[in-house]
């Protein structure tokens, strides 16, 4: 028995104020019936006595004060889950969008989720091979990690996200993989690119899509990642699957959040984003992880476009504080046709040390990436120096490092969006590139490892200087 109210007193932006409501609960959802009989969905943002503030997911166009009715549904947003959600496409609020049948639920899940007890978390330490050298070799991704892609307008983040979805595997085990893809305010083309890419490889059968396109209601975007993560939690922790969640694009999500906050006349934080943006993002990102005694995992790759490539913009900045590292795309590498254009120096995977080494990848991995990293950083400095002083003015050492940086970009970073390198290939390539240096210059590598892995290349390539 649902109560109906026709007492809408004001409408502003995406928000609606309803009076004389009895029994409203914070966070619950409502149905809104317009004068013409069409139904919209909303969520209660505040209850003050018998006044209720409702956020309307589909926007308030056409809502009037006299005819509009609201019905309290007496529950928070829920998603119907069952194994049948695999292979399906849903709207941003979990309604089937692919003309398929409705899901017969195994269970209904509150999309807000509950925080994972830190005590019950299991530490992510299993290496995921993505087949991309800049990630596997230098910024390894591990199961249960959240590693965002910081991109900018015009950079191929969709391609790299699709490559990740296609190539990611766990070494040496036959685990069940699933991909949950949440599109928030992206274009039809970008969404279709994903669907096509996954269809081509057959991966679509083990994917769940939640699609909110750029012309879908903006407020719906606030719910989209929550629906997607609820599906992911179900697949991972109840069905034991290894789930990769791609959230594309988080910047649009944050803008929707800002819209609501502005409509509520809240005190804005930086750039007009609400002060609780950090907490809000954390409640999404932190749903990734592993749980003790459960074989499933949620690995998350949020994609976000940085306005003007500005890393200090609140969205990438706060994201970076919550996620375990970041993969940053470089415009200058992209211009040089280096793909995927991963900017190695500011990119970082915080969990790398736990997921690599003997028994996981190879014993030389940690020292090797430290050395590659340091050498590339130095090479980049030499490159800059060369642009100021001219190449002729570089010292012998600087020239050597500059050459290293060039070949590192051309061979190590550049691999295209379809090449799938094994971790051994990536590591061996690293040694090969480092062989231009004297052993004593490789300060970050244990001498024993140099002896074990370096001479092999000397035999193949002939000794360098």
């Amino acid at each position: 028995m649902l109560k109906e109210y026709k007492s809408v007193s004001s409408v502003a932006g995406p928000l609606m104020m309803v009076q004389n409501v009895d029994g409203a609960k914070f966070g619950h959802i409502v149905d809104i019936e317009l004068g013409d009989g069409s139904i919209r969905h909303g969520q209660i943002l505040q209850v003050d006595g018998d006044n209720v503030l409702v956020q309307v997911f589909e926007g308030t166009q056409g809502v009037d004060l006299d005819e509009t009715k609201i019905r309290l549904l007496g529950k928070p947003s829920e998603l119907n889950v069952s194994p049948d959600i695999l292979g399906r496409v849903f709207s941003g609020v979990g309604i089937p969008k692919d003309n398929g049948p409705a899901i017969i639920p195994d269970a209904k899940k509150d999309v807000n989720g509950n925080p994972i007890n830190p005590y019950s978390r299991d530490f992510p330490n299993e290496f995921i091979q993505t087949g991309i050298s800049t990630i596997d070799g230098l910024n390894p991704l591990v199961r249960g990690q959240k590693l965002p892609i910081f991109s900018g307008a015009g950079l191929p983040h969709d391609e790299i996200a699709a490559q990740l979805a296609r190539q990611a595997t766990v070494l040496g085990e036959g685990e069940e993989f699933a991909v949950v893809f949440a599109a928030m305010g992206i274009t039809f083309e970008a969404a279709q690119f994903f669907i096509d890419d996954l269809t081509k490889t057959g991966a679509i059968e083990r994917s769940v899509m939640f699609i909110n396109l750029a012309n879908d209601p903006a407020i719906e975007r606030i719910a989209t990642p929550r629906f997607a993560l609820t599906a992911a939690e179900y697949l991972a922790f109840e069905r034991g699957m290894q789930v990769l969640v791609i959230l594309n694009d988080m910047t649009n999500y944050c803008e929707a959040l800002r819209e609501i906050s502005a409509a509520r006349k809240e005190v804005p934080g930086r750039r007009g984003y609400p002060g609780y943006l950090y907490t809000d993002l954390a409640t999404l990102y932190e749903r990734a992880g592993r749980i003790k005694g459960n074989k499933g995992s949620i690995t998350m790759v949020p994609v976000l476009t940085m306005p003007e490539d500005d890393k200090t913009h609140p969205v990438p900045d706060l994201t970076g504080y919550i996620t375990e590292g970041q993969i940053i795309m470089s415009r200058s590498l992209d211009r040089k046709s280096i793909a995927p254009p991963v900017d190695v120096l500011p990119s970082l995977s915080r969990l790398k040390d736990k997921g690599i080494g003997e028994g996981k990848t190879r014993e030389d991995h940690a020292d090797l990436y430290n050395q590659l990293y340091a050498a590339y950083a130095k090479g980049k400095e030499s490159q800059e120096l060369a642009t100021i002083l001219g190449e002729g003015a570089l010292s012998e050492e600087d020239a050597k490092y500059m050459k290293f940086a060039d070949s590192f970009e051309l061979r190590y970073i550049s691999q295209g969006f379809s090449e799938n390198r094994t971790i051994e290939q990536t590591l061996d390539l690293g040694w090969e590139l480092l062989s231009v240096f004297d052993d004593t210059e490789l300060k970050r590598i244990d001498v024993d490892l140099i002896a074990k892995y370096m001479p092999k290349f000397r035999k193949n390539d002939g000794a360098s200087d």
Partner: protein
């Protein structure tokens, strides 16, 4: 009068709930909210209306639901059982919550902070009939192999002790009674309760008198932390701030450590939770957890509990300080704490100051750090305790003009400035030697057993620092005119400064040997590098080309010195001879 503060909810907005009919309620009283029995705290009173910050999610809470006042401020339980515990922001044991409700935290479950069933072996240290006052130690419990838990007379209790005897007790069973002069009798238990928002009393504050050794070369040598001091680690994300905090928690020279993960990443907290129990205390070889209390309020847990978590942590830390221990508190990150304050303040519709933070931000931060210090404890036997605070801040966009950073820098005495530039060069710990500072440098001397060594170290530190300063200037010149244009002596200075950076300051937290360096080893390492400087200068005087000097094999030995185990420090000293021999051959 109705019974104490039985009210009704009238408004719900996120974590803030307003209730009516709360007459008799006091500010900061703890209340139970709604049918879900959520835990909250009163933060504003207006006639019989009370604004309540709720420590759990409020979805599904609505007007008309009851609010019950417990009549007590937010308190922690202090007593045996704290050590090795893992709590959330309001001292609910996470391991027990896990056992009770599974992997996801449900709402409305209040579990006591201390185990009520466990029995502890109590040993009395005072006789029946003794006169006691608040703070007096009346007995001991060997809580873990590393911590001897001292049972103190709680505040406000004074008189003659009766009925005290050794034996096994649970935390809430009386171990003795104290009869005051006016005849009133109070019970003493192993456990006491203490409100978290005010400082625990002490007899007298004392100034720091020595540095705390951390085994981190850049910190101990250049920017040491004093006993009872305060330090701040700001860093943009990706600069290894958390690793620095973890390293300090593992290695700092304290009797016990309270680690507050405030709004931290879940996986990072898991790292702490899984790694700490496996770590061995460097001195005793026992598990490090036997002297650690962890507070974990990850960023997805409710924001109000995050606000409370630093207070919960510091109150526990003060309690151990009062037993006469040296305690270190790590808070990571206080920016998240400040943000929680801001979020609550916004919901209360308070007038914001800078960046939306409440106007009392600076005052709250200052009074938090001011709870540190070296003190003379209350009661007898007379003893000294100390509490040092190391707070991390996460400035948005790495911008140090952020309100939280600025408010923190007003009060702290040590500043370890993490730089993303250094992190990008994989120079860890990425503590910038030019912008960091410490007001406790003069106390490092007290940490050396050998006073002559201490004096020499002091001079070496000054020399090394001036070399690093010089390097920054020289590098500018080199950028403009090239490396060949500077004098030979300056070339030596440059190369040695590089060696200080790469071979001394750079320290690998994940290497089994390099992760901790004793002061003696620091002394030996620095001495060798400065010896190289001296010999290098002599050699260029004699007409040797600087480039050849730094091709000697001893350079390799210097670079690897950090990996030489503590037991073989003499090998580092030998490097000096190698330098002499090899330069002589040139």
């Amino acid at each position: 009068m109705s019974e104490l503060g039985q009210g009704k909810i009238v408004k719900v907005a996120g974590p803030v709930v307003v209730a009516q009919g709360m007459s008799g309620a006091k500010m900061y009283d703890v209340v139970r909210v709604g049918e879900a029995n959520l835990i909250g705290e009163i933060v504003e009173l207006n006639n019989d209306m009370a604004s309540i910050q709720v420590y759990e999610g409020t979805v599904g809470v609505g007007p008309g639901e009851p609010v019950v006042n417990t009549g007590a401020p937010l308190s922690v339980e202090l007593g045996p059982g704290l050590i090795s515990s893992i709590y959330d922001g309001i001292q609910r044991p996470l391991d027990k919550l896990y056992a009770l409700e599974g992997s996801f935290i449900q709402r409305g479950n209040a579990l006591p902070g201390l185990d009520r069933d466990k029995k502890w072996q109590f040993k009395a240290t005072v006789e029946n009939g003794a006169k006691v006052v608040a703070g007096d130690i009346v007995g001991e419990v060997q809580e873990s192999s590393l911590m001897l838990h001292k049972i103190m007379v709680p505040l406000g209790v004074e008189g003659t002790i009766e009925g005290i005897s050794d034996g096994e007790y649970t935390v809430d069973a009386p171990i003795a009674t104290v009869k005051a002069d006016d005849g009133s009798v109070s019970e003493i238990k192993l456990m006491q309760k203490c409100p978290v928002r005010s400082q625990r009393a002490s007899k007298q504050r004392l100034a720091p008198n020595r540095a705390m050794v951390t085994g981190q070369r850049v910190i101990d040598t250049f920017f040491p932390l004093g006993v009872g001091g305060t330090a701040c680690v700001p860093g943009p994300f990706g600069t290894g701030k958390t690793v620095v905090q973890h390293q300090l928690a593992k290695w700092i020279d304290a009797d016990m450590v309270v680690y507050v993960g405030c709004g931290e990443r879940g996986n990072e907290m898991t790292d702490v939770l899984t790694e700490f129990p496996e770590l061995k205390d460097p001195k005793s070889g026992k598990p490090l957890m036997e002297r650690v209390v962890l507070i974990a309020n990850t960023s997805d847990m409710p924001v109000a509990a995050r606000e409370a978590s630093v207070y919960t942590g510091i109150t526990i830390a003060e309690y151990f300080r009062d037993m006469g221990y040296r305690v270190a508190l790590m808070a990571d990150s206080t920016s998240r704490w400040a943000e929680a304050m801001r979020e609550i303040s916004t919901r209360l519709e308070e007038m914001p100051a800078e960046e939306g933070y409440p106007a009392y931000l600076g005052a709250r931060i200052a009074s938090f750090y001011e709870r540190s210090g070296r003190i003379e404890c209350l009661g007898s036997p007379s003893r000294e305790g100390a509490l040092s605070i190391i707070g991390a801040v996460s400035p948005p966009g790495g911008d140090l003009s952020d309100s939280v950073v600025q408010a923190t820098l007003h009060v702290v005495k040590v500043f370890w400035s993490l730089q993303s530039r250094l992190a990008q060069q994989r120079h860890f710990p990425a503590i910038d030697w030019l912008t960091s500072y410490s007001f406790y440098k003069q106390y490092l001397k007290e940490c050396f057993d050998d006073k002559a060594m201490a004096v020499e170290m002091d001079d070496m530190i000054k020399e090394a620092m001036s070399l690093l300063e010089k390097e920054a200037d020289l590098l500018e010149i080199v950028r403009l005119v090239g490396a060949e244009a500077i004098s030979k002596a300056d070339q030596i200075a440059l190369a040695v400064a590089k060696s200080i950076r790469e071979d001394y300051l750079h320290q690998n937290a994940f290497h089994s040997v390099d992760t901790y360096t004793s002061l003696e080893k620091q002394y030996a390492m620095l001495k060798v590098i400065l010896h190289l400087y001296k010999k290098g200068l002599e050699a260029v005087e004699a007409g040797i080309n600087p480039v050849d000097i730094f091709k000697i094999e001893a350079m390799e030995a210097i670079a690897r010195a950090k990996y030489i185990p503590e037991s073989e420090v003499s090998k580092i000293v030998d490097i000096a001879n190698q330098i002499d021999n090899q330069i002589a051959k040139l």
